[in-house]
């Protein structure tokens, strides 16, 4: 199978370009697949707002989002910048 594939890639320029294009598409879509878009802050679940407002900020609680069946990740973020550690 691998030999056949190698042979195709060696001799077929179109196929080679196609594989490169697919690899490029996969690479470009990589970061987008890793993020979670936070839910609409105006959402009401069971009569309860899903956010709390603190002046100019909105705050979600991740455990409540899960209990409301809304998307949240509760583990540590893979990509994060530390602001403080107390």
């Amino acid at each position: 199978m691998c030999e056949q594939l190698a042979s195709i890639l060696r001799h077929n320029v179109t196929m080679r370009k196609f594989i490169i294009a697919i690899a490029f598409i996969c690479y470009m879509s990589r970061p987008a697949l890793a993020v979670v878009v936070l839910p609409d802050p105006t959402t009401i679940v069971d009569g309860l707002p899903i956010v709390r407002q603190f002046d100019e900020f909105l705050s979600y609680n991740t455990q409540l989002l899960t209990q409301f069946s809304l998307p949240a990740l509760t583990d540590r973020p893979v990509s994060a910048t530390w602001i403080s550690y107390c």
Binding site: V37, G47, R76, S84
Partner: protein
Amino acid sequence: MTQAGGIDNDPVGGGFVFEEPVPSVAGGCPSCGSFSGVWGAGAQPGGPVLVDTLFAYLQSQAGPQATIPVFTFDLVEPGSAADRDLNLIANFQVWNPSTNTEVASWSLDAVNNGVFDPGQLITVEGLIELTGTSGTVYSASNTGSGSHDFLVFSPTMNLSLFTGNGYQFRISAQFTNIDGGGEEAFITAAFVAPNQGPGPAVPEPSTMVLLATALAGAGLQSRRFIRRKS
């Protein structure tokens, strides 16, 4: 607050380098009780934090739709009722270092008036219990380390409006009523604030159909090639 155990921001995801976390008061926690400090102004190694760098980090890690930073907070207070809450207040600024003036600011405090109100600290609750109209009780125990308990953003903090000028991004924060160690705050690209254009999480069905068609075509092409060769 401290940069405990070698924690730094050099590098974070994508190879970006940011100012190190704000250091603790002498002696560290627990027993520090309160803390105040500024992140982003260059007081720590790796600083200052430039809006351009922060914006590039968000775009690199979360895609072009990420223009508003999302902050996370891991509340680590002890679980006992007397100790599990803490209080905090923060002011976020875009700062022009050339003129030493504030360009824009966003306040996180207990008064919803769009103005920073020093002394009006919010309460970060270690235990939240809510009862829905159905009678269902929703409960979140936020104490303990290892998860981000709160996700916070300001809908108007669109950093794309402040890039290209050499501006700095600063956070001034004050914590009180700290009873245990390990309270952690992050900026993360793992989350994207809503209402920032098309959502990126799942490829559209049409994209998947296009990909499947292309793969089918590739399969047919390779079969034809193999048949011709044999």
